[in-house]
C-alpha cells in the first residue's frame, strides 16, 4: 500500500525532526548553562577593551644553513604593561637582548634547519593612549648638538634652518610646534628635502624632526609600534615621534591620532630581521579581548580541566581565532536567510548568494558596499547585454564579464584613490566571482522573466545581504557565538524546524489575497 506508506513516512519524519531539534537544543543549552552558571562566563561583551592579544607569527622556509631571526618584542617598563608572554620556539634557540636605547629583542637561532618552520610570540598588551606618560629617560635634558650624520655643508644648512625656526618662535613649546609644522605639513620646502636622511618614509622625516628637536634641547626620539584600533589579522607597524617639552610628555602622530597604541621599540631599525631564510612571511596580528571575560574563562580553564574547555576557541592562535570569529557568525546569517525565504518569501538570486555578499560587505562596510555592489552589477549588466548582441557561448561570455568587472574595480579603485578615499582600496577585496555570478543570474532572469522580476530579486538579495551583514557583525551575536559555540546546535535546530514549515509565506498571502475573499462566509 503506497498510500499509507507515504503518510506514515511523513508523520514519523516530522516527529523525528522535532525530536532531533529538541535533543540538539537540549545539549546546547546544557553546555551553555554549565558555562554560565557553574563557571560564570559573562553573557555580554564588556565595555572596556583595553587589553589586546598581540601576536608575531613568523613563517618561513629554510635550506640547511644557519638561521638567525631577530625581532623587537614588546617589553615591560614603568609605563607599559605586557603580560602572559609566550614563545613558541620549535627547535630554535631563543635569546632575549635588552638595549636601553632601542628596546627588547628576541633572537632565534638554529644552525642546520630544514623544511618550513614557524615561530610565534604571543602576549597581552595594555593599550597606551596620548595621555600615557613617556619613559623616565625622556625626562633627562638633551644635549644641543646638530646631528652627526651630516656633512659640513648639510650641517651648515641645518644650523641656518634651525636658527631660523628659533627666531620665529616664542618658546620651546611653539618652537617644537613650528618644527613639526615645517617638516610634516609644509612638505615641499626645499631645505627640508635636502636635509632628509636616507631612510624609508616616514622614518626620514621623523628622524629629521627628532634631530631638529634634540638640537634645540628638546628631548625627542622616533618610536615604533602598533595602533590598537580594531582586530586585525595583519597589522602594519607604525612610526611616530615622542618628545618632552616644558615638562610635558607629547607624541606626534602622522595623520590622525590613534585612540590606543603600543610602543614596541625606538630608533630607525627594522622590527624584524631574518638571515638564511626564504619565503619569509612575518605577520603581526592584534585582537581586543574583553579582559574581565577572558580572565574568567582562563581561570575556569585552569582550575580544573573540564570538558567545557573543549568548546572554546580561546587556546587557538590569535590568527586562527580571528578567522573563526568571522566564520562562526555565518550560521546566524544563514538562519536569517532561511527565515526570509521560507516565511517571508523574499526572492533572491541564488540560494546562499546573499550571505556571500553579506560577508563581502565586511570589507567595505554596509553603505559603501551597497553602493559599490549596485554600481558594479549595473555596469556588468550593461556589458552583459552588449555581449548578448555578439552571440557568444556561455563560458567565454562569463569570462568576458568577469574580466570587465576586474577592470571596473581597478578603475574605481584608481578614482577613489586619487580622491583620497579609503573606500577605493577596500573594493579590491570585493569578491568578483560573486559579482559575475550575480550579473549572469540577474541577466538570465531579466530575459526569461522580466526586468521587474530581475530588479526585484536583485533588491531582495541586497536586502537579505544587508540584514545578514548586520546580524553577522552584531557585537552581541558575535560574542555569544564565539564564546558559546555550542549555540550553533540551537541554530541548526531552528533550521530543522523551519524545514518542516508548511504554512503560507508572507508573500503568498499577498499573491493569493483574492482567494480569501471568495471564502468569506456568506
Amino acid at each position: 500500500m503506497p498510500t499509507t506508506n507515504v503518510t506514515y513516512l511523513s508523520v514519523t519524519s516530522t516527529f523525528h525532526t522535532r525530536l532531533l531539534a529538541f535533543v540538539l537544543t537540549a545539549i546546547a543549552l546544557t553546555i551553555f548553562g554549565i558555562k554560565v552558571f557553574q563557571y560564570n562566563y559573562p553573557l555580554t561583551p564588556g565595555t572596556q577593551t583595553t587589553t589586546w592579544d598581540f601576536e608575531i607569527y613568523l613563517d618561513f622556509d629554510t635550506a640547511n644553513q644557519p638561521v638567525r631571526i631577530e625581532t623587537f618584542v614588546p617589553s615591560n617598563s614603568d609605563t607599559r604593561r605586557v603580560s602572559q608572554e609566550q614563545y613558541y620556539n620549535g627547535a630554535f634557540g631563543l635569546r632575549l637582548e635588552t638595549d636601553d636605547d632601542n628596546g627588547r629583542k628576541a633572537i632565534w637561532t638554529y644552525r642546520y634547519p630544514n623544511d618550513r618552520k614557524v615561530l610565534r610570540y604571543r602576549a597581552r598588551l595594555e593599550g597606551e593612549t596620548q595621555r600615557s606618560p613617556l619613559p623616565a629617560e625622556m625626562h633627562r635634558p638633551a644635549d644641543r648638538a646638530p646631528p652627526e650624520s651630516l656633512n659640513d655643508l648639510e650641517r651648515q644648512a641645518f644650523l641656518v634652518w634651525s636658527s631660523d625656526m628659533r627666531r620665529r618662535s616664542a618658546d620651546d613649546d611653539s618652537l617644537a610646534e613650528l618644527i613639526l609644522q615645517e617638516i610634516f605639513v609644509q612638505k615641499d620646502a626645499d631645505e627640508i628635502e635636502a636635509l632628509l636622511p636616507v631612510l624609508p618614509p616616514p622614518l626620514d622625516r621623523l628622524t629629521l624632526a627628532a634631530e631638529a628637536l634634540q638640537s634645540q634641547g628638546i628631548r625627542a626620539r622616533v618610536a615604533n609600534g602598533v595602533y590598537l584600533d580594531e582586530a586585525r589579522r595583519r597589522t602594519e607597524v607604525q612610526h611616530w615621534l615622542e618628545y618632552h617639552v616644558d615638562g610635558r610628555d607629547k607624541r606626534y602622530f602622522i595623520g590622525s591620532d590613534p585612540k590606543e597604541f603600543f610602543t614596541i621599540w625606538y630608533g630607525t631599525e627594522e622590527m624584524i630581521r631574518a638571515d638564511g631564510v626564504f619565503d619569509f612571511e612575518p605577520q603581526v596580528s592584534i585582537q581586543p579581548i574583553d579582559s574581565s571575560a577572558s580572565d574568567v574563562m582562563r581561570k575556569a580553564a585552569r582550575a580544573d580541566r573540564t570538558p567545557v574547555e573543549l568548546f572554546s576557541f580561546d587556546r587557538l592562535p590569535v590568527t586562527t581565532q580571528l578567522v573563526y570569529q568571522v566564520l562562526i557568525t555565518i550560521p546566524a546569517g544563514i538562519v536569517l536567510l532561511v527565515f526570509m525565504r521560507q516565511f517571508i518569501g523574499i526572492e533572491t538570486l541564488g540560494t546562499f548568494m546573499p550571505i556571500l555578499i553579506g560577508i563581502a560587505f565586511r570589507e567595505t562596510a554596509l553603505l559603501n558596499g551597497l553602493i559599490l555592489f549596485t554600481l558594479l552589477v549595473a555596469l556588468g549588466l550593461a556589458m552583459r547585454f552588449y555581449l548578448e548582441k555578439l552571440r557568444l557561448l556561455l563560458v567565454p561570455r562569463l569570462a568576458v564579464v568577469l574580466i570587465f568587472i576586474v577592470i571596473c574595480m581597478a578603475v574605481i579603485a584608481q578614482m577613489f584613490n586619487s580622491a583620497n578615499m579609503r573606500m577605493g582600496l577596500s573594493i579590491s577585496l570585493f569578491p568578483m566571482v560573486i559579482l559575475t555570478m550575480t550579473i549572469e543570474r540577474m541577466s538570465i532572469m531579466w530575459e526569461e522573466y522580466s526586468p521587474e522580476d530581475a530588479i526585484k530579486a536583485g533588491a531582495g538579495s541586497m536586502l537579505v545581504a544587508s540584514l545578514s551583514y548586520l546580524v553577522m557583525t552584531n557585537k552581541h551575536i558575535e560574542f555569544l557565538l564565539f564564546n558559546f559555540p555550542e549555540l550553533l546546535l540551537v541554530l541548526m535546530a531552528a533550521c530543522l524546524l523551519m524545514g518542516k514549515y508548511t504554512g503560507l509565506r508572507l508573500s503568498e498571502i499577498r499573491r493569493f489575497r483574492e482567494l480569501a475573499k471568495e471564502a468569506e462566509p456568506k
Partner: protein, 321 residues
C-alpha cells in the same frame, strides 16, 4: 493581513512550502524526476503507452550532428526546435516552413541557416537547461492549433494544464497567450490562466498576473463558457502519465491539434500554484481527498471518474456559478 491569512486558511489555499514538502518531497522521488526533465524520455514513455505527442523529426546531440539540421528543418509543414531539458518555454523556436534563402519564423521573420545553427549551439551548450548542463536539441512536429481558443488568445500557443495526484486528475486550467506574454502561455510572463470545470471541460474565469479577470485583455472576449473539445481524452492522457512515470504529483501540459487531436507536450514534476487563482479556489480539500482516496486496482479511466467525483464533492459553490 491577519484577516486575509485566516481567509486563505479557510479557503484551503496551498503555499509553496506545503507543495514542496507534502507533494513533491513525498510523491516525487528524485530518481523519477529525470523522466520528465528530459523531454525526449517523456516522449518515449508516452508513445509507448499510447499517449499522443508531437512527432519527433530528429535530435541534435552534439555540434558534430549539426549537418543534419538543414534536412530536418526542410519539413514542408515546418517544425519546432526546442531544448530537451528546457523549462518554461525558453529556447523554443517555431519554424512555419521554408522560404527563399532560409525559413520563416512564427513571427514572419526570415531565419538563416546560420541563425538557427547558432540557436541550436546555444541549446547544446546548456543555455536553456535547468542547471546549465549541456543539452540536446529536439526538432519536432509543429502543432496546428485548434481554433476553439481563437477568440480568447493572441498570437501563439494556448495549452491546457491538468494536475494529477496519485493518478487522479483533480484540477485543470487553460493557459492563453497575450500580447504582453509575447505569444507564450506562461502565466508569469503575462499569459492568462482560465480555470476549467473538471467534469465538463468548460472554461470558468480567468486570471492574469495574479489578478482575476473575466475577459481576455487583448481580444476583450469573455473567457467563460467555452467547451474544450476532446476533454475526456485529455483527462485520460493526464491520468495515464502517472502510470508511465510513477510521479505521484505532476502537471500534464496538453495542446490541441486541429487534425490530430490532443497531444501531450510535456510533463512537469513541480507544477506551480497559480492554478488556484485561475480556478478561484484553494486546492487543499481536493488534495486531501485525493490522498485519502483508495486507488487500489483502478485503471486510468476509473481514476478519471474518481477525479470527477471528488471534484464535484469538493469544489466550492462560487466556482461553478
Amino acid at each position: 493581513m491577519i484577516k486575509t491569512w485566516l481567509g486563505l486558511r479557510r479557503a484551503g489555499v496551498l503555499g509553496i512550502n506545503e507543495r514542496n514538502l507534502r507533494l513533491i518531497n513525498d510523491y516525487n522521488p528524485r530518481r523519477l524526476m529525470r523522466l520528465v526533465d528530459d523531454k525526449t524520455e517523456t516522449k518515449r514513455l508516452a508513445n509507448a503507452a499510447g499517449i499522443q505527442t508531437p512527432e519527433l523529426y530528429g535530435l541534435i546531440r552534439s555540434p558534430a550532428e549539426m549537418r543534419k539540421l538543414e534536412t530536418l528543418l526542410n519539413h514542408p509543414d515546418g517544425c519546432v526546435i526546442k531544448p530537451a531539458n528546457g523549462s518554461q518555454g525558453n529556447g523554443i523556436q517555431v519554424i512555419l516552413g521554408p522560404m527563399r534563402g532560409g525559413w520563416r519564423r512564427s513571427n514572419g521573420q526570415r531565419a538563416l541557416l546560420e541563425d538557427l545553427k547558432f540557436h541550436v549551439n546555444n541549446i547544446l551548450s546548456g543555455m536553456y537547461s535547468l542547471s546549465g548542463q549541456p543539452d540536446i536539441a529536439m526538432i519536432e512536429y509543429r502543432v496546428k492549433f485548434d481554433d476553439v481558443f481563437d477568440p480568447i488568445s493572441f498570437g501563439g500557443v494556448p495549452d491546457i494544464r491538468i494536475i494529477v495526484l496519485r493518478g487522479i486528475p483533480f484540477v485543470a486550467m487553460v493557459r492563453l497567450p497575450t500580447a504582453e506574454s509575447d505569444g507564450k502561455a506562461n502565466l508569469h510572463k503575462g499569459g492568462v490562466g482560465v480555470g476549467l470545470d473538471l467534469v465538463t471541460g468548460r472554461t470558468l474565469y480567468g486570471m492574469q498576473k495574479g489578478k482575476t479577470t473575466d475577459i481576455h485583455p487583448d481580444t476583450a472576449n469573455p473567457l467563460s463558457n467555452i467547451s474544450v473539445p476532446h476533454w475526456d481524452e485529455m483527462l485520460l492522457m493526464a491520468a495515464k502519465a502517472y502510470d508511465v512515470t510513477g510521479l505521484g504529483y505532476l502537471g500534464a501540459d496538453i495542446v490541441l491539434d486541429k487534425g490530430k487531436g490532443p497531444m501531450l507536450l510535456e510533463l512537469n514534476a513541480r507544477p506551480g500554484l497559480a492554478i488556484q487563482v485561475a480556478n478561484r479556489m484553494g486546492v487543499r480539500p481536493l488534495i486531501e481527498a485525493c490522498m485519502k482516496a483508495d486507488t487500489e486496482g483502478l485503471n486510468a479511466e476509473q481514476r478519471v471518474e474518481l477525479g470527477k467525483k471528488l471534484y464535484r464533492e469538493h469544489v466550492p459553490d462560487h466556482v461553478l456559478v
